[in-house]
Amino acid sequence: MSEILKNIEEKFSEYFRESHSKLGEDTVLIKKEGILDVMVYLKNKENFNVLMDLTCVDYYGEEERFEVVYHLYNLKDKKRLRVKVRVDEENPEVESLCSLWRNANWFEREVWDMFGVRFKNHPNLKRILMYDEFEGHPLRKDYPIRKRQPRVGPLN
């Protein structure tokens, strides 16, 4: 196991859930309550200064339905790290990372738009790709595949 995963497991044992490093990629799954603490640590102490990507996966049917995935990059040591948290369907909410990385703003808006996962303390959580009148979240697995919501013209 790589050093960074060990560090996280030791420092944040109350938030740590599991980790693996396959094919040279370090991945850690933590509890969603700890996301801000862990990220502050990773950014300030471990030099993961770039938030490369923030996205979401819908594991429809599983108990904790959504998985929010963060990809971090350490510019100094050229290392990558994947951090994941799981949220359930009733209360899909995680802490926003806008205070740490400014690009989290649009990423989080996209995740909200497509999956309906809310981000607490986000300064401007509204749709970014779809139009405001759009109902539902199209990348959820239970969004009907043929459902259309045109703004002008007929349903097609």
């Binding site: 779809m130 139009y131 199209p138 919501q149 045109p150 013209g153 097609n156």
Partner: protein, 162 residues
């Protein structure tokens, strides 16, 4: 419209002078298409190659893109039209003055193409009238030229208003 009324009044609806004048106006119109390129996606590359010197849209009198709908009479819809931008496209069409024509450039504009999903308009003919459909993803420049020539034929043959 006024001129047409006088001409048909004097020479009759199907008279020699009237039909010849119609044909002359049609000839003038088909060789002076002013294009409004509504370019949204990858088909735009093909539009560029058609418009540039290799294929040279200017040979058909349709070289000059006008980026104001008021000055254009041919709306070239090039690329995927999402539901988000559909009202804008409709607005552009409505702002163009008569006579005006619409060409659906590429499979996306004809039918929605493989974007059979929540985001994409399944063919722009669901929101505005289309004169010529140019299929292909993207269409080759030759196909586009063929489409433009078909449009010219259509303009030549249709009854003119003036």
């Amino acid at each position: 419209m006024g001129v047409k009324k006088i001409v048909t009044g004097v020479f009759g609806e199907e008279g020699f002078i009237t039909t010849k004048l119609d044909s002359a106006v049609g000839w003038a119109r088909k060789y002076s298409l002013f294009v409004y390129p509504f370019v949204t996606a990858c088909c735009g590359m093909e539009y560029m190659s058609v418009a540039c010197s290799h294929y040279d849209l200017d040979r058909f009198g349709a070289a000059l893109p006008r980026f104001s709908p008021r000055q254009a009479d041919l709306l070239l819809v090039v690329g995927t039209i999402s539901h988000k931008i559909a009202p804008v496209l409709l607005r552009v069409y409505e702002q163009m003055t008569e006579p005006k024509w619409v060409v659906a450039f590429g499979t996306c504009t004809c039918t929605g193409g493989f974007y059979d999903n929540y985001a994409t308009v399944q063919g722009i003919d669901t929101i505005l009238p289309v004169d010529v459909y140019i299929p292909g993803c993207p269409p080759r420049p030759e196909t586009v030229l063929d489409g433009i020539m078909k449009l010219q034929e259509k303009i030549q043959k249709s009854k003119q208003e003036y």
